[in-house]
Symmetry: C2
Amino acid sequence: MLLEKITGPADIKKFSMDELKTLAAECRSALIHYLSKHGGHCGPNFGFVEATIALHYVFDSPKDKFVYDVAHQSYTHKMLTGRQKAYLCEENFGEVSGFTNPEESEHDFFNIGHTSTAVSLASGLAKARDFKGEKDNIVAILGDGSLSGGEAMEAIDWIGEQTTNFILVLNDNQMSIEENHGGVYKNLAALRESNGTCQNNFFKAMGLDYIYVADGNDLEQLVAAFKKVKDIDHPICVHLNTLKGKGFKPAEENKEAWHWHSPFDPATGELLYKGNGTENYGTITNQYLMKKMKEDPKVCAITAAVAANMGFFKPQRDEAGEQFLDVGIAEEHAVALASGLAKNGGKPVFSTHSSFIQRTYDQISQDLCINKNPATIMITTASIFGMNDITHLGLFDIPMMSNIPNLVYLAPTNVEEYLSMMEWSIEQNEYPVAIRQPCNGVHHAQGQVQTDWSDLNKFEIVQKGSKIAIVALGDFFQNGELAARLIEEKTGVKPTLINPRYITGLDTELLEALKMNHNLVITMEDGVAEGGFGQKIAAFYGTSDMKVMVRGFKKEFIDRYDAKEMLKENHLLPEQIAEDATAL
Amino acid sequence: MLLEKITGPADIKKFSMDELKTLAAECRSALIHYLSKHGGHCGPNFGFVEATIALHYVFDSPKDKFVYDVAHQSYTHKMLTGRQKAYLCEENFGEVSGFTNPEESEHDFFNIGHTSTAVSLASGLAKARDFKGEKDNIVAILGDGSLSGGEAMEAIDWIGEQTTNFILVLNDNQMSIEENHGGVYKNLAALRESNGTCQNNFFKAMGLDYIYVADGNDLEQLVAAFKKVKDIDHPICVHLNTLKGKGFKPAEENKEAWHWHSPFDPATGELLYKGNGTENYGTITNQYLMKKMKEDPKVCAITAAVAANMGFFKPQRDEAGEQFLDVGIAEEHAVALASGLAKNGGKPVFSTHSSFIQRTYDQISQDLCINKNPATIMITTASIFGMNDITHLGLFDIPMMSNIPNLVYLAPTNVEEYLSMMEWSIEQNEYPVAIRQPCNGVHHAQGQVQTDWSDLNKFEIVQKGSKIAIVALGDFFQNGELAARLIEEKTGVKPTLINPRYITGLDTELLEALKMNHNLVITMEDGVAEGGFGQKIAAFYGTSDMKVMVRGFKKEFIDRYDAKEMLKENHLLPEQIAEDATAL
């Protein structure tokens, strides 16, 4: 096996074309082996095996620098740069992250995970190279899906004005996670159909030079193209027409399902562990929205290329028709579009991950909240139970969003509250509203849930008690409930339990009243504590005798963590809360 | 005078072409009258008089909807929609904001002020129109400068896929505030030079239809073009070649200086009120950076089209050469570029306004801070003393930035600290650093200032006292000093005065030690209190007996405020602090 013996990219430079082809087959087998047991990004990696080999064959990494966009297609790159064991041997699977990672290798320059960043980051490498008078090649590898992101567009525009070496490899597999959206994809199609000769050319319009590789999975074509552009003295786009999922039939045939995939039977592609069909918020959201859209043609669901997170797979998208808007990877546009829709009587619901809403601080502030337009934003995987890659953490949306004026940010604790809040938000005309979808499984309300949330910042006392009050926000409510029970068991005194429901304001009347017969307030939130919800309560009580224990996560970037461990480290387990509270 | 009698756009529809031309001359006179006495955006408005008249002549506002990007060019629009008195009569000047404002008129749809938002917002209006089955025209008016912003690019791409009426008017005056930067401007030039016929066409590459107007200040050409596209059934770009500053010679000749201008003599263009030549942070920053860049070719200054805010006018830009990087209106790219530069040994300093850094939450978090690259970000006008338009407030950067892990956000209190922090930041290799430039005039250090800031989160005790400790952050330090003096005068007890210097972390040792002989800590910060610095201190002391009084601004969007009034309303005046503290 060639792959096992490779110590670094230098080794493959001696390979013949046949050996390169053998290596490609071996890499693809290793991918199938790893992905079928571990799960991960399938389509993007299967389609980029040959291009990765050709890049390493032609260029001299790490002197020449590759920057992968999103970096979910970097598995083959990792195999060729000394990390093949992590794909070949099950016991080594844990040694690599799912993205490039400078801590793993000198061939990786950035921790990446969000889309559309590579051209910008690489252009910084290029500019520093020029300042230092060095001569290496800077290569940014961008997927066609990432092209629609504002950061990528800004960077390509800037690169188009530069006059030194810069190679933009466009890995055009004609797909984002779902199908692409945006006018520029018509241009990519025209370029492919004309073998790169079509006169109107986005990259040339942006000031870059351009060449086209008709079969981006053909090693000969790839090597020839990269040789041609190596050491070029100006910016150029190398447009590769690749096949997403290449070489693994199920992934070639159903590109969307195989963009990322859980462990599967490598022979058939069948899922190894099937879901147990229990309720989840994706399906719940989707069922609600599908019904709502049928009832009202002004309701629409907006996604920025992550349709699945509100349960919009192909059949649902087709059924929703014009009322489902996929803007492509363009979160900024999604928020401003929602604001415009709401201004003109539309009823938009934009849903994205906590980690991806980070792209839109300014749009939430300026386009939406200054204008007080009644759009709804649904924040998903906003939790320690969300995605656990360092680049996809769902722990920062509370500080980021809840300190923006005019926004009403709601924290439901169960399905019925969640649906009631969504219904209210869609139908009201006064506030921009965000809703933080619970992430700790599906819980149901005990009793009737209110339908009108317009009396802002009214916390709910779920259990009246004394001495200690627990204010447990959103999906930490159930843990708050447990902590309350444990405290009562320990002390015999029943604590007060509060479901605050609103993240963006305090129920000062209720908090004031607590002073009567409480001396400790404990706040619990599923995000970093700094800048968050509990600190507002601490400040509220700052000049009083009330003690406040603020519990949330430490401000830090964590990677591939265990949620239970993190809860423990941050003293957020119900038994720890109970212990710490009684110790006070 | 025609202008005086106009009650709304309907009136001008009856005008002959000659009357329209007379009206244009009257509008321009009104602009000169208003701007010479009041100050404001000159070039953008002078250049867009004819196009505004033609738009209102052809379309039916407010049924047809105009969305102005930045909206700093909307003065003529305001004159034609019943607000002409606010430009003609000095006593009415205060009746209009400098941007579109829905509270002023049904012809204004959004409070706008940041760039590159109009296409997105307007596309929302268009989509809602389609949902409602209505037939009005949606017109987004974008400047060429705004075109480089990611949000605009995302929106144009999305529009390019739509199949209903949308009119993108590109007001191409060949300038941003300074000269444009980006490869797409080469394409705009080629389009102008070829009278719109050049085969490579950015807008067509994005999927839009396209027409060109060679003289965008010629009413006949404009009216013909707008008539042609009115009620069009698909998206089209109407590319207008306009002259920035048109009709006012000084503004035509020096476009950069006349983009925005203070009151002037309308005969000569001479400034009415000349600066007194005192020190300011723009000049101080510039002098430091020019010297630093000469000493080290790896140091560079980056701006996103607001070069003046670090004192880079044309002569300084020319002198700095390649070491001065204007990325155009592209803040996201600026931060990621800086990260890439720092990764490869460059020493970048990116400077922008507090309000504009809002575009980059995700880039600061993902591209910069996860990767811990040692770039420097300079935040200017981050203060109640900054810009006072609702869209340009400098009060939100502390909650936005200081809760991002790995960032070191510094708050100098005087010039020497500021320069020392900048020097340290540029030369160190461990942290992404942001520096909050003081905005309360130029103060100087009393003694020696430290040069090494790597011992993070060490607060400085400037005055040792007892009972009360004042922690006064950044440019509120001088007010803290005053408050301390007043408290001592009132009570005879000298309070402790602390300069925290670091926004992103607490000096827990020092705070712990205060418990010994203090019972009240007062925090003061020049930004909204929620999610900010003081609340962290309140939470730190939450379970202790220490009382904490957190002082900052209320979380709200305020417009054209008086700084002193705002300080008073938020109990931030030194005498109020002293009074409230002694009352406790």
